[in-house]
């Protein structure tokens, strides 16, 4: 069960794929705060300026081959960037498996 603490508490764990880790100080995970995926991305951008552009294009939409999972659910099949995120949640950023 999630801890519904104040949304400014950085209790959401975001894990990153290897390709993005150099942009977050070579860490694998980051703890941030936010009440939605969009707010989590805002918090990531604040902590690591320029990171948003790796996840979203200029129109604000998630890049086509970038997937964000809230626990085991792809946010594309939830409410996209407006998907609510509770304190204590775990997010996973994964690139699509593409190519031939």
């Amino acid at each position: 069960m999630h801890d519904v603490s104040h949304p400014t508490t950085p209790s959401i764990q975001v894990s990153f794929p290897a390709a993005l880790r150099p942009r977050i100080g070579n860490r694998t995970t980051v703890m941030v705060a936010g009440g939605s995926i969009r707010e989590v991305i805002d918090a990531l951008e604040q902590a690591f300026p320029g990171l948003r552009f790796s996840l979203c294009s200029e129109d604000g939409k998630l890049r086509p081959y970038v997937n964000i999972f809230l626990e085991r659910e792809n946010i594309r099949y939830l409410q996209g960037l407006d998907t609510p995120v509770l304190a204590g949640a775990r997010l996973h950023i994964l690139p699509s498996v593409a190519g031939g």
Binding site: L20, S57, E58, D59, R63, P95, A98
Partner: protein, 156 residues
């Protein structure tokens, strides 16, 4: 060859962008070549160029399939890389999204800080501080005939 931050005068340097990073080839005699381990490893490098007007600044255009397009620069032949403070990104609401950075070109000798970049969708970007900040060239972006330009891969 190990990473190098300088090369002796007269060295021939060739930059090779690949889908797996940027290789720097160097030679004193154009017969035997040293090849560095790839820098920007794992990145798809469309273009790279060395600007020798102000020191030795190396520029590289990364166009990834997943996480977007970025310009990088290095002052030590790829040992360390930097991203612009204000990079090549279209303004929100412009309706344009950066697809690829195609070419980077240092300006004339009498404008040592000026660097140009051509991107897809077709537009020209200009830096006047050796790549630290970039601005869209509005004259081309807002040209009245733009909509009638024959579209190619980048909209030209």
């Amino acid at each position: 060859m190990t990473d190098s931050t300088t090369y002796p005068q007269g060295t021939i340097v060739v930059l090779v962008g690949t889908k797996r990073g940027l290789f720097i080839l160097s030679s004193q005699d154009r017969t035997r070549w040293d090849i560095t381990p790839p820098t920007l490893r794992g990145s798809r490098i469309f273009h790279a160029i060395l600007d020798q007007r102000n020191g030795q600044r190396l520029f590289a255009a990364e166009n990834g399939d997943f996480f977007g397009s970025f310009l990088h620069y290095s002052d030590d032949f790829g040992v360390t890389w930097h991203k612009p403070q204000s990079g090549i990104q279209f303004p929100e609401g412009s309706g344009k999204k950066l697809t690829n950075i195609w070419v980077i070109e240092p300006g004339r000798a009498n404008e040592p800080g000026v660097v140009y970049a051509g991107v897809d969708p077709a537009s020209l970007w200009v830096s006047s501080d050796s790549g630290v900040t970039w601005e869209l060239n509005a004259a081309l972006a807002n040209h009245p005939t733009r909509e009638r330009w024959e579209p190619g891969a980048g909209g030209l």
